[in-house]
């Protein structure tokens, strides 16, 4: 009995992780909004300006 319950628990846990992985990988595959690419190039420009002043 206990063993059977344990097996079910393990299968449920595996199912939870499978579902999570699917949700997560859907999100990871979304295209990155432009604001982040813009932000990175802004940061880069600031640094270039700073080092040019030195």
């Amino acid at each position: 009995m206990a063993q059977e319950g344990n097996q079910k628990k393990q299968r449920f846990e595996a199912l939870v992780d499978d579902n999570l992985k699917r949700l997560y990988s859907d999100l990871v595959q979304e295209e990155l909004p432009d604001r982040f690419k813009d932000l990175l190039s802004q940061l880069k420009d600031q640094d270039t300006q700073k080092s040019a002043k030195k």
Partner: protein, 185 residues
């Protein structure tokens, strides 16, 4: 300049960072603001990043610290949950109604932050319990118990009776789960 700038690597981690932010905040706008803050912090503190260590873990740590400190400040505010983690997901295989992924997502969003976080870190993003514990600044056992409590709560919320346990894990369903390749949009 012989060694590569670790900041060039940042962009590679942004999709994962964003997914983590969404799972934590459950709000698209808040998540993107958190990612933005994290990028700026990481960029300006890049000397604190130890080259050769896991940059993704480092970024996730910055993001979660940002999130929890803003949560502390906004304690009396009602969290603004827009279902970002669930609603933007395109979920297909309902061919037999057995894989109740929509229900799963709803249930997942109801979990406390710490449990969602533990489950996402170890269950979805592939960090080890040790890494997750390190990132969250708690003991490995704490992460394990958060993940376990999260799973138990999910089981409750999904009213996971013995019958459905069998249904959900029958070979056909498992094949669908295993075979969930690129999702068409």
């Amino acid at each position: 300049m012989s060694s590569p700038d670790p900041r060039d690597e940042l962009v590679n981690h942004l999709p994962a960072l964003r997914a983590f932010a969404l799972s934590l905040t459950r709000n698209g706008a808040t998540a993107d603001d958190m990612v933005q803050d994290t990028v700026v912090k990481a960029w300006t503190n890049i000397e604190k990043f130890e080259v050769g260590t896991n940059m993704r873990a480092w970024l996730f740590t910055i993001l979660r610290n940002t999130y929890y400190s803003s949560r502390r400040k906004a304690k009396r505010e009602v969290p603004d949950v827009d279902g970002a983690f669930t609603e933007r997901l395109s979920v297909k295989p309902e061919h037999d109604g057995k894989l109740q992924l929509a229900d799963f997502k709803d249930a997942f969003e109801q979990l406390p932050d710490e449990q969602r976080e533990a489950l996402v870190l170890v269950g979805a993003s592939g960090f080890s319990y040790e890494e997750a514990a390190d990132m969250c600044g708690v003991a490995v056992g704490t992460i394990k118990s958060r993940a376990n409590r999260g799973r138990a709560r999910l089981a409750d919320l999904l009213d996971h009776s013995d019958d459905t346990a069998m249904e959900l894990t029958d070979p056909a369903t498992m094949a669908v789960v295993a075979d969930s390749g690129p999702v068409s949009r």
